[in-house]
């Protein structure tokens, strides 16, 4: 049933893609729907494009893994639109620029800055895409029982075919419909779950206790290789072999094996994860792996998500379908309300998951908690139905976001980095990008969807946020200042995240500053841009180039 539901989602997207072919005439048509749309519809489309697999699956998964503090992700994802509303939406729309590289050239007249911005788009889109493919692969894996790589390749194929047949982007109403679909597929199962579980479960969900012993015979399916640390003799049945008692020690659990722990057995330890329900877990601050700096970790996630939203390539393009600056501003404001409705619900899945499926933390499978819950609550057809609905919703979220991001990515390559774009080459670049992302998603199985997406936000916040904010509000910004600031921002975000990934420092201050650098990299990029700009002189037309972004349409219409 679940496979059927996902197939329906893919088929619908394919049909829409096929219908879109006739509408595509030129590159701008492919990149944005040329029609002008009401702010409410556009806000629904923005939300539809924005709510990715990271929101649909990742936030609830992080709640199970890291605790209540993970809910700050949802707050940051929503609050980003207020920064956008106040600082960027209307002036950005008035530039007529479709992308940040376009903006960079229109405002500062520098082809070099355009290329640099395109490189930043490339980095952001890749960091954002890899976790989407990981999540989609994981969902398919859970649903069909195939190995992880099959899921990722199938997801990549579905996206590629859709793109080859035509950009889904041509139709804003499709994205708006996608938002409604996702909201429905997320909220209805959540309400059903709350009503379905016993009052005891509901009480436990609100007063969690640490997961130290298995309360029932618990099968744990390992889809990846995991190293388990057993501290007391533990009765376990491994993949249908005879039951045995494992003495304390380190044990490798191979991908594909199923370990069934006996009732009352102690929960083994896993490198890099803590059992749900512990003392740090129920604190409302983010403290992954009990690193000891909860406030710092929480704020760095918030800074990255709030300031990064304005630089997301697939979102900026959406604002261009507003009629004018005022429409773009209204779109941002309505988007805050729509996203608020959605982000009230991940907590339901997270809390119920921590009580009913705490063992997911053992198999690095917390990202699957949303789709795994219905079957745990109801083993009959109703449970299967809700699993199918949630899987379809997750896959829809994956498709909507990935298509938008792949288009933005290939747009940056074929439009900004190489001169003279054609529709044909745009399609080929898109397919090439999809293949690269699939190749990157295969080894990323162990990385958390929500954390990877936050890295993309951190890069956007450290590069595009200073460029847009200073470009829109400060006439003394110069092209060299913007270039140096962007390079510093790019190195101190993407470079440092990469460095932290390879060094793998132990949990603590260093790990937070390297893994979530936004707290220091964003101010650094701002300061660099300002100081270098002050050292030079902006051209004579810079003042007019900035001020015209603030000249509203009411005045122009009157004449």
């Amino acid at each position: 049933m679940t496979a059927v539901a996902i197939a329906l989602v893919v088929l619908a997207t394919l049909l829409i893609g096929a219908r879109g072919v006739a509408a595509i005439r030129s590159t701008p048509d492919f990149l944005v729907a040329s029609r002008r749309i009401s702010p409410t519809l556009n806000a629904a489309a923005v939300s539809g494009e924005y709510l990715s697999a990271a929101s649909f699956l990742g936030v609830a998964g992080l709640v199970v893994k890291d605790g209540i503090g993970a809910l700050w992700y949802g707050v940051g994802f929503t609050a980003g639109y207020i920064a956008m509303l106040a600082l960027v939406a209307a002036p950005m729309r008035r530039t007529g620029a479709l992308t940040v590289p376009d903006f960079a050239e229109a405002r500062l007249g520098s082809a070099g800055l355009r290329k640099l911005s395109a490189v930043a788009v490339l980095v952001i889109a890749t960091l954002y895409l890899v976790p989407q493919f990981k999540a989609a692969g994981l969902v398919l894996t859970v649903v069909s029982g195939t190995p992880y790589w099959v899921g990722v390749v199938v997801a990549g194929t579905a996206v590629s075919i859709t793109l080859a047949l035509g950009g889904m982007r041509a139709a804003t109403y499709v994205q708006a419909f996608q938002f409604g679909l996702k909201l429905l597929l997320f909220i209805v199962p959540a309400i059903w779950l709350v009503l379905q579980v016993s009052p005891d479960t509901r009480r436990e969900a609100l007063s969690p206790v640490e997961f130290t012993r298995f309360e029932r015979p618990t099968p744990v399916e390992f889809r990846l290789d995991v190293e388990l640390t057993i501290t007391e003799p533990t009765p376990v049945t491994i993949s249908g072999q005879a039951p045995r008692v494992l003495p304390p020690g380190e044990y490798p659990a191979e991908a594909g094996s199923t370990w069934t722990f006996a009732e009352g057995a102690a929960v083994p330890g896993v490198q890099g994860a803590l059992p749900p329900g512990g003392p740090g877990w129920s604190r409302p601050l983010l403290d992954p792996n009990d690193a000891g700096y909860p406030l710092l970790a929480t704020l760095s996630v918030l800074v990255a998500t709030v300031l990064g939203t304005m630089g997301l390539p697939h979102i900026i393009v959406r604002f261009h379908t507003s009629a004018d600056g005022r429409g773009a501003r209204r779109t941002a404001a309505i988007t805050v309300a729509l996203l608020s409705a959605f982000y009230l619900f991940p907590v339901v899945y997270g809390l119920l998951g921590a009580v009913l499926l705490p063992e997911l933390f053992l198999s690095a499978g917390t990202d699957t908690v949303v789709v795994a819950l219905p079957a745990r609550v109801d083993s009959g057809w109703v449970g299967s139905l809700f699993t199918a609905l949630l899987s379809a919703g997750a896959f829809a979220a994956f498709l909507a976001t990935s298509l938008g991001l792949l288009l933005a990515l290939s747009g940056a390559v074929s439009h900004d980095l190489l001169p003279g774009a054609t529709v044909r080459r745009l399609r080929f670049t898109t397919l090439g990008a999809a293949v690269c992302v699939v190749a990157l998603a295969l080894p990323s199985a162990y990385l958390d969807v929500g954390v990877l997406v936050t890295s993309a936000f951190a890069v956007a916040a450290s590069t595009f946020c200073p460029l847009l904010v200073l470009g829109i509000w400060w006439s003394r910004l110069t092209a060299p200042g913007a270039i140096v600031g962007m390079v510093v921002g790019l190195v101190s975000s993407a470079g440092v995240i990469g460095l932290g990934f390879f060094l793998a420092p132990p949990p603590g201050l260093v790990a937070i500053l390297l893994g979530q650098p936004a707290l220091w990299s964003v101010p650094l990029a701002f300061v660099t841009m300002v100081l270098v700009s002050l050292g030079g002189r902006p051209p004579a037309w810079a003042n007019a180039a900035m001020l015209r972004l603030h000249l509203d349409e009411t005045e122009r219409r009157r004449r």
Partner: protein, 125 residues
Amino acid sequence: MTRQRRVAVASPQTRLALARRRTGVRADLPHLPHLPHLAPADLERARRMHRAQLRRALVAVALLAALIIGLPALLAVLPWLDEVRIAGVAVSWLAVAVLPYPALVLLARWQLRRAEQVERSGGEP
């Protein structure tokens, strides 16, 4: 009935290239789509708008910062909020799971109104 201005949807780069081919203008100067330069009246109005909008935007961003920095800081220094419960739910959980959203919606609405009000009054105080 007000007629919507029709604007060609093409990237500035495309416009730049087209303009260059037609007129042979230097490529290093940006040829901005609507107003390559501002008329004196527009310039004055744009200056007023810029100043007024910047002030309002900064206030909104400051309030946003107060919310998303202040709330986690408050929860960090007041751990006893974990123990206080409303209808069985810890207050500190409500503070991250529910409370921020209505606050954000209100802030968005407020800032939107103020920004549009500036445009109606033409940036005059």
